[in-house]
Symmetry: D2
Subunit: 405 residues, 4 copies
């Protein structure tokens, strides 16, 4: 029998931290003994618990403790984080610490350092000389990097349940189409305005259905009003946006009548081919081919466009990054400073983005398919608001709900 002592602090009961920690211990087949417990006497007082966790094997304990940390437990005995050096490029030490997307600190020479650029499922590298800690994805670690191993000296700030209803108070709610969307749209608008007031960036992840459904104009309007700083998308949304500008169709469907046009099947290929012949989206814009669509508005208003390709692409469009590791790297860079992320009618790009965002980014997932929303809203962040609704009508209502300035 081996054991370790953990501590829990704060609103550990109504934030479900204590029961989840107990549940995790039991499910792992380990045991606990409460060493000390002070329960807040009313809803405003914090509580405290010191608990001994014991397990039959070190292996079991080593697996369990990081899980408890993720739930909000700290080790009672304070140690420095242990590190091991990388010996093969792109390969981590065996017992590397794998991050959550929650605010995290590591203890280096007796001091708690915040881990920079937190995201899920990556490693923590410590630069001992500069006293810095930062995340690094597996494939980017280099020989000699000091990677945190084990769980000692790592501290995660679990998210407590918010006390009052606020924007994003939806977050614990089950995702549902049977809820009043008007309220949710107002909340999203408020979060966007708040982010812009202190210069926080708003990130949009857009799927091609945005163009098929004629919501393209709403997105361009949001860009012009300053509510879009970064766009993540793929080859398709750009191809159809240019197709719409050049031919008035999206995947061959006339955007004015909703009817397929006979020759329309080829239009997105023609649009891609034309931009390829000119060499870049910028050149196509200079040539007046992009109309007043999403790409045109992005170029005019300095929106950062990160276009990540995939194996289903035709062409692809110039500007689309075909290597997924390179694309992921650029997306990672572009998420710095993002405070609100809105993922609309996108699955692949939305999931990829969700993996990169810290839990503190207010994230809205909008899709008409509840399976997509559930998949994205389930990815571990308490800050995700899932909206099962029609993206075209959502965007149109969001434009109406935002102040024009």
């Amino acid at each position: 029998m081996v054991s370790a002592e953990i501590e829990l602090r704060g609103h550990i009961i109504d934030s479900f931290i204590l029961p989840r920690v107990w549940g995790a211990i039991e499910e792992a087949g380990a045991h606990f003994h409460v060493r000390e417990m002070r329960i807040g006497q009313s809803e405003t007082e914090p509580s405290y618990a010191r608990i001994e966790v014991s397990a039959e094997s070190q292996r079991l304990l080593d697996d369990l403790i990081p899980e408890l940390q993720r739930l909000g437990a700290d080790l009672a005995e304070v140690q420095n984080a242990r590190t091991a050096l990388v010996t093969q490029p792109g390969v981590l030490p065996d017992d590397f610490y794998s991050t959550t997307n929650l605010p995290t600190e590591v203890r280096v020479q007796g001091e708690w350092l915040p881990v920079a650029n937190i995201e899920m499922d990556v490693a923590i590298v410590i630069d001992h000389s500069a006293k810095l800690a930062y995340t690094t994805p597996m494939h980017e670690v280099r020989i000699g990097d000091a990677v945190v191993v084990g769980y000692e000296g790592v501290r995660v700030e679990a998210q407590e349940r918010p006390r009052q209803r606020e924007a994003f108070g939806f977050m614990q709610s089950p995702v549902s189409s049977e809820r009043a969307k008007a309220l949710a749209i107002r909340d999203v608008a408020s979060a966007m305005v708040a982010a812009r007031q202190h210069g926080g960036k708003i990130l949009w992840v857009l799927g091609p259905a945005i163009v098929h459904t004629a919501a393209r104009g709403s997105v361009a309007e949001l860009i012009r009003r300053g509510y879009v700083q970064v766009i993540f998308g793929g080859n398709a949304i750009v191809a159809h946006d240019v197709e719409a500008a050049m031919f008035g169709t999206s995947l061959g469907v006339d955007l004015k009548t909703g009817e397929p046009v006979e020759h329309g099947h080829r239009n997105h290929l023609r649009a891609i081919n034309k931009v390829r012949s000119l060499g870049s989206l910028e050149a196509a814009h200079a040539a007046g081919l992009l109309g007043d669509g999403i790409v045109a508005a992005s170029l005019e208003h300095g929106v950062e466009l990160v276009l990540a390709g995939s194996i289903r692409d035709d062409g692809p469009m110039p500007g689309v990054i075909t290597d997924s590791v390179v694309a992921q790297g650029q997306m990672r860079e572009a998420t710095r400073g993002v405070e609100v992320a809105i993922m609309a009618a996108s699955m692949l790009h939305a999931i990829a983005t969700g993996n990169l965002l810290p839990a503190s980014v207010r994230t809205v997932v909008v899709d008409i398919n509840p399976a997509v929303v559930t998949k994205l809203a389930d990815r571990g962040s308490a800050q995700v608001m899932g909206l099962v609704t029609d993206v075209e009508l959502f965007l149109s209502a969001l434009v109406d709900a935002l102040p024009t300035t």
Copy 2:
């Protein structure tokens, strides 16, 4: 080998009538021989075909011919309709003719009579003395009714494919959420206005999610503007509409904040109980309990409310018809004169209504679940427009798209 001759007239090629007829013959294992064929030389000229259909057994032919009639074929040899008398109440003669929802005529004493009140899957009764033909559901036939049997002397007017895009030009389109909804909403609004201009009735079939999503105000507004003549619904929509008026919640969720309220769970029961104690919705309205909701607006503007109960109901509310056969009968009556039917967020009531409507009624099915839309849009009528979208946002946009007068 037995055989019969059929005739096809009109735009039988581009309306897919001829190929469907041939296909049906082949799939049934029967054979055909073209006796005469005149093909229209251009898109404006009609065509004509006379075809001999032969089958190995009379049974097979008897099953096949009505199917071909449904597709638009007429028997070449003109006969009077045959009838058989009902000998058991509520039981049809064995080989009764089962209707489609298309305009139908029967030949009585050498004369083609239109069949009144056409709907799907019912029988045709002929009143020889009054020279009238009308549909009757199985359970309503009485001893002595002359019911049409076999297929001779029955003529169905198949629907041709429309030539140009028009309102409801969506109809052959696959149901999709990836289409521009703004266009479709404009089409629906036009059809509603057109119906009202010559006094045609607009029927709404409403599910309870209308109230949960706060779209209740939109429906009440449409009633006040005169775009609602008949409402079909169940116990739930009325219960939640009254709950919203009395407590500001719907199934216990606060409609202003979107948050569940603790005691809300009981509110719909309290609302039902209150109306039961007063005896009727009218009395509750007189007592000022219904606010400005759907029921209140309906009572004030003379909307015909047909409320059909089901086994999942609490209460039920006074006014809800608990016997399904009686309810079906009242719904059948109320569909007379309906020109536009809009089914929103409803499944049971929408399917029941779809079975009762003639194919000529312009029908819109709106639901966020594509499975529901497909199920309803598949029910045999070419006039159904399926819209996979958010009902709350759809209704709000529809109100905006309709003239105020």
Copy 3:
């Protein structure tokens, strides 16, 4: 400021009872003060808490306390239940106590009586002379019935979270199609075998897709093996089961080839008409028309068939109860003694059944549409296992997983 004292006992932390109670108090805008708290020191020791709940108005407190009871709280001050007499038939006293589906007791003359036939959203009637308490739906209360009002003297046994994985250990899991179904099927089979070993009844709620998908043979086989005591269904499943027996089709689709047969469209009407002419399903069985289908097997093995009609029905079939209140009453009766309930490819009947079942019945909801499963699994019972899977293949695998005896 008014207040009341509540008590919590048992595994109130890891069963989430304490945090939920605190959360409910806060969300209601009320306050709490912990008067006494003893926390279990390890995973096997129970805990105890005595908490004062205070609110700004009696109304708020009166709404909150029943909610806390539902979560597992008891009033610290023990009183007898209060009752009020019914003065209008079918109408409850204003502040009637509305039940949960959890085991419930009421205190009568100092004694805790169990409430018989617990189900959700109904009233409790006390027979003081016989010292009995039982549930009664709103529409069945008669003048003079003593109905429990307020919340004093009512005690609800909240369900604790199970400690180990067991059959129905899935219950807290999110419903998902991305889980190993083979495990779940084994669990369902075990629960069925266990129920039968001590004579518990197994209830099946069946939708018509059972027949369309040819799973009809699997259900009949389960009946023959003794795993079906009660069936709830509607007009459609019986109509298609008889259609399959008489014509080899289901809604006109040939069950051997999967192809629509031309004349098949009428077959279910013919089947209904034939049974109507004979007068009953029993007579049709005697006439050899039912083959070896679900109805035939039910009649041969004494399965209780409760068929509840709806407004979408053709016919209907003899034996179908058209009045929804009568049908609900018969379903209520037939649920007595049920230990396992399996709802397959049904929505209306499944929801209606879910409302009637006590939380202690192990319930499985199987549907390929996640929306249906979520809707049913959300209805408040911890004992519901939701399975998003193909009903035909599920039934075939379940037959394989069950012992033959």
Copy 4:
């Protein structure tokens, strides 16, 4: 007014070729005049039509004719195909001919040459000296390539509707979960056996849910029995297959109990990291880490694994191709010789594959989400059978339906 003459031959009426051609002409706003028409007199005789198509502008006609070719029309006046030379690498001539996935021929120096490696939406390059024609994707054309432009000298073999039910007779049927799956599974098995008997390859496109649902064993069994020649997948399926072999979990869920294991969250990262440290999947197999999973069976039985990465990947696994254009190229190569393609629980990879496959490949799309099946089944090929069902149970039933040899 400009015009061109087209010819139609074969079962042009019951294969819907003639009505579709007429419809396409009308929808484009063009006109037609029937010059000659011979209608088959019975279901076995072919028909013939010569039709003059006229339009108001050359542009409109140039857009319309390729569409009519796609539907099965040939130009009456036989010419050689026109070509234009590529002047920028990766950019096609403006009016390049964009392929369908149907068998296609081009006329070169008076001779009809088959177009090799047909797939959708690519260009045709003619090698005049070698008298060869083959498809080339846009980004692969090189300066000097002779690309077919316009529509003259191109002939497409439209697919006629099959006469009898056969394997893949489902193809015109609407995709539905309410159909008998047992029949469909038998058809798939027959098509697989038939393909193997003459050495045709079977391609599987697999999503990661295959491993989550424990269907991994079924796939490995199919590999061992020789029913898998090519697998397309991504990083996730390989990562979870190795995770399952190393830890018994998939995305942290224990495959034996269906329960999440506490530390499981990290397991797929550990698995990827381990394989990275060894350098390749082959090395991991040699080290005994892959158990009897999909990758192990693939390596042992010479299955061609094409793993295409995406931006959502962790790691990635050695062997995963991160550049989407390179991956698409390898997938393109690997589809040569494929006769049956089965896409299971995959969306991105399945759509990408669908774009590459000729219409003659018998393709089965299996997913529990009808939206995915519809999306894939809609992609233009008549040979696609869509099955809305549970992939785990489908695979298990398919293994049972296939002969063991």
